[in-house]
Subunit: 437 residues, 3 copies
Amino acid sequence: MKNTGQRLRSIGRRGDRPRPQPPAGSAANGSTASWLRECRPGWALPGKFHSDEEIYRADLDRIWRRGWLFAGHSCELSKPGDYFTLQVAADPLIVLRGPAGTIHCLHNVCRHRGSPICNDAAGHVSRLVCPYHQWAYGLDGALLSCRGMHDLDKSQLGLKRVHVREAAGLIFLSLAVDPPSFEPAHELLAPLAQPQGLQRAKVAQAVDYLVRANWKLVWENNRECYHCNLNHPQYIKANFDHFNADDTTPRIRKEISRVVARSEKKWQATGLAPTHTQTGMTKFPDAENNIWFSGNRTPLVDGYVSESMDGQRVGPLMGDYSDADVGTMRIRTLPNFWNHSSCDHAVSTRLLPVGPQLTALRVWWLVDAKAVEGRDYQLDKLMPFWQLTSEQDWEICERQQRGVNSSAFTPGPYSTVKEYNVDSFVRWYLKMLAKQK
Amino acid sequence: MKNTGQRLRSIGRRGDRPRPQPPAGSAANGSTASWLRECRPGWALPGKFHSDEEIYRADLDRIWRRGWLFAGHSCELSKPGDYFTLQVAADPLIVLRGPAGTIHCLHNVCRHRGSPICNDAAGHVSRLVCPYHQWAYGLDGALLSCRGMHDLDKSQLGLKRVHVREAAGLIFLSLAVDPPSFEPAHELLAPLAQPQGLQRAKVAQAVDYLVRANWKLVWENNRECYHCNLNHPQYIKANFDHFNADDTTPRIRKEISRVVARSEKKWQATGLAPTHTQTGMTKFPDAENNIWFSGNRTPLVDGYVSESMDGQRVGPLMGDYSDADVGTMRIRTLPNFWNHSSCDHAVSTRLLPVGPQLTALRVWWLVDAKAVEGRDYQLDKLMPFWQLTSEQDWEICERQQRGVNSSAFTPGPYSTVKEYNVDSFVRWYLKMLAKQK
Amino acid sequence: MKNTGQRLRSIGRRGDRPRPQPPAGSAANGSTASWLRECRPGWALPGKFHSDEEIYRADLDRIWRRGWLFAGHSCELSKPGDYFTLQVAADPLIVLRGPAGTIHCLHNVCRHRGSPICNDAAGHVSRLVCPYHQWAYGLDGALLSCRGMHDLDKSQLGLKRVHVREAAGLIFLSLAVDPPSFEPAHELLAPLAQPQGLQRAKVAQAVDYLVRANWKLVWENNRECYHCNLNHPQYIKANFDHFNADDTTPRIRKEISRVVARSEKKWQATGLAPTHTQTGMTKFPDAENNIWFSGNRTPLVDGYVSESMDGQRVGPLMGDYSDADVGTMRIRTLPNFWNHSSCDHAVSTRLLPVGPQLTALRVWWLVDAKAVEGRDYQLDKLMPFWQLTSEQDWEICERQQRGVNSSAFTPGPYSTVKEYNVDSFVRWYLKMLAKQK
């Protein structure tokens, strides 16, 4: 795993360390009603939703500490004892592979005096030993030894466990005591992602970003391709997303039909046929049914077999693919993950909230586990398509944050034909925010 | 216009981005009375006036969003479509010249999802096109097109307009819905500034500063020359400001009388004779009559024809001047502008609040439009007088901020003979603060 | 005094400037009771004690503005007019030597408009002249002259004085109006420190640190050697502190007995015999009797005559010592000082609070006044032992701060055998916090 050359495109204060946030709890419920009254259906959120500390705490409590969060890839934990760390708001976490191969997620907070146990981004351990006073925990978090402590009920002092689930190589965690069922997501995503072979992939590179924008602005940006034409010159060459109902010409309609038909013919039997067969973006999320996950296979523009600068392959075929012509597999889960996978590589993006106006983003590029850099792939061919597209979006989000902070900002209307998914995201968000429990 | 070599003397956190501030509104009025009770006439403001978040919000509401703010120079917008941007607290603004030559000021916030339209410090546009989704506005802010939007009343979605007025090349804006009359200021300043030819000047250089002090400390510093003797060795060579009633010797009195008489004799007919004819500073502001603007022509010390290091000219004559011996023209307007203009150059200073303890300052050096750098003027001759003087003051203000933050700080008395203008500023400020509407 | 090569190991935001804090006052007393109810005797403090703004203000009021704070060394003020500055939270202070040799401490805040008078870390003055308007004060703070001010009662406008006391070369100040008696501390510390000759020492070097941790985490770290084994490889070679009752083997017991016996035999007559004669740390503080100071003489491991990397001398003998074999003298005073002195050098550490999660630390290395760098001592021999040990601790504290900020942190139990002093510190702290006056 080549995960070291990480780059911080800090646009925020680098030194920023999230302040611990008191839970919004029931005290904030009176506020929620008044916040909701300020929202107008079909129009953007009022500016305070992107800067107010109290709303941010409510976001943490009702969304980030309730749902399922993407953590990373199971291939980053190739053997028992491998771990990586991440931080959700003020909460440091460890994700690791236990001796039996099971993946665990633990609060990275010693039960003695609170020191984080693992202080690196990733590594390998046989036991979890706190560097402060060497309290030692098993890979499942159980307290094994604590020199100098007497009359202690060790069984009560294990590292606090966090729910964790895997779907075809993607690791999700939930900070909730009693999280919602992961099954529906697993049922949809596991078979879809299976052929991509993410479980046996390798991370070719990962880049960290600290973006000075509220996490919801990042999602609103992600949920429409209305902005693609001028902002994403690379992306629109490969995809049909930016052609919405009102600007899909007969020529475009014909082109996608042809591509879809060809793929269906080829892949129907193996389950690799496109599931999103139209121009524009697939509908997601589904606020009414609280569907926070989705995935589909989508054709690429003719001539593109990979989301690369020239549409050509940038690495060996991944997973079960026997042919490059498999379009792209796409997954997105709220509140913090999306993935675009081509025949030869996969790109995952993870959001983590740092503050009301600060979001940590990581983008991973994955290739086949046996691929060797320099021989089978070059980073400068593999990365630009999504690196450019991502950084174009982060800049948009940071600019927008500045605008919605203005005392003169009033929310505008969403296009029903181009921003239906942004509207769905906002409706989903407000529904989650309103749920008291 | 050479406005690019800007330099940030960041003393604050560079990355600082102002948090959007809830309006202090009527809820704060109870506080105002208690704040005012802590103030002692003739003595400095209590420390909290320079750090408290609530008082800062009240300053924004009752002063910065009510009065007239200096924005920049009309010569920075030489042709239709030229624009520059600025930010008042959290509010990004565009100032531009429309097709008919009219100057407009608009909130730099797209009516769709809030992205700023213009993201550079200055530039040229034919229409205002939002970089996010290409909503396009006319130079007067009218919404012209918004691809993909249906059933939209475009007339309701123009960029929000800000009041703007010009006086002899100086552009002022007001964020108020119903601003106070600009006429009295125009009547005084336009004829005074006319001969300087600022409308047809060029910006030779502009320097940006981020000063870690409350905006009022910057004004208190500006409103007295009690501090000049040891802090401004350059400034006091050229000027009579630092000689107050109690230290104007007969020799000094004789010297200024001679200079004034000479100027009056020469310029009476053309209206360029001194209007401030004594040592010390002219009285400003006038709190009782709420006079927030003033201007005057003031003689320089014999041997000085320009506010330059050696008193000699540093560029060609500006405007209507036919002779270098015109003293200095000086203008100041509350809450954010002062200008000192010599025969050959003009220096403008603009304040913008960024936070309770953070103020953005810009200093411009203007010369005749036809002057060519290297041939007609050198930046290293033009700039030092006011660059040194300004930076000496910013350092004083930052130090003072540290002192007034002390829990041991108690306000001291103003000198009635040397700090009458500081006292007037404080009285003006408190009067504005107390006005509910 | 070589005090210039100071180094900021800024781990926090360098530009951070403490906001002035409103006094917690009586309004906070209701909160105190609720904070105390969350604490469990014998267990660590809840996380909010290390991040909450209101608790931080209470810490400032009830501990930092009530007790005695270490300021610096009298040898840093070798002649009348010498001064150094420091800042306690938002309060800038000057410590100086007056004409009669007396040490004064004054608020570094001009009584006119609040500017700090002395803006350097240290220097020499004949009078205290404010750089803003040249108000001049005597070295005792009395206002001597204020040009331009009339009808002023100068006697009411002296620099505000701060209580100051010295004990054998160590300067302590109190911001309290009516501080607790310093006598008991003086009685214990002055004779103990006398032979070290700190009054006639010289500062060989001082290093400043800005540590991103609450000040109490720094103390909790200091009050146990449970963490020493793996974190302080240098420290444990020289000392017996890390051997607590439960891991002092017969061999260790024999070793310390032998060292103690040798020292007692040699020094009984001169008062340099060990006063702490066991392994483990001496008990401190004494919460029940509110003992905030202590000092003792402690033997070093055989073969060590100095707390240096190899245990050998790193400079000439200090003070009254005639022999290198004097173990170490140790002093600690709450809330902000500890010192370890060997035969040839002394190391002082001072804490100053900057914010709830930010503490300024200074470490001084002192040697005999006549020692010449290069000839009698080398910084690279003198400094590493305590520089490494200190920086190891600062890193531990910063990591722990991250952990206690987690929403999942719950305080753990203290070891009664290894963390008795941490528990005493917490009990002392909570007792101070609970005292209304």
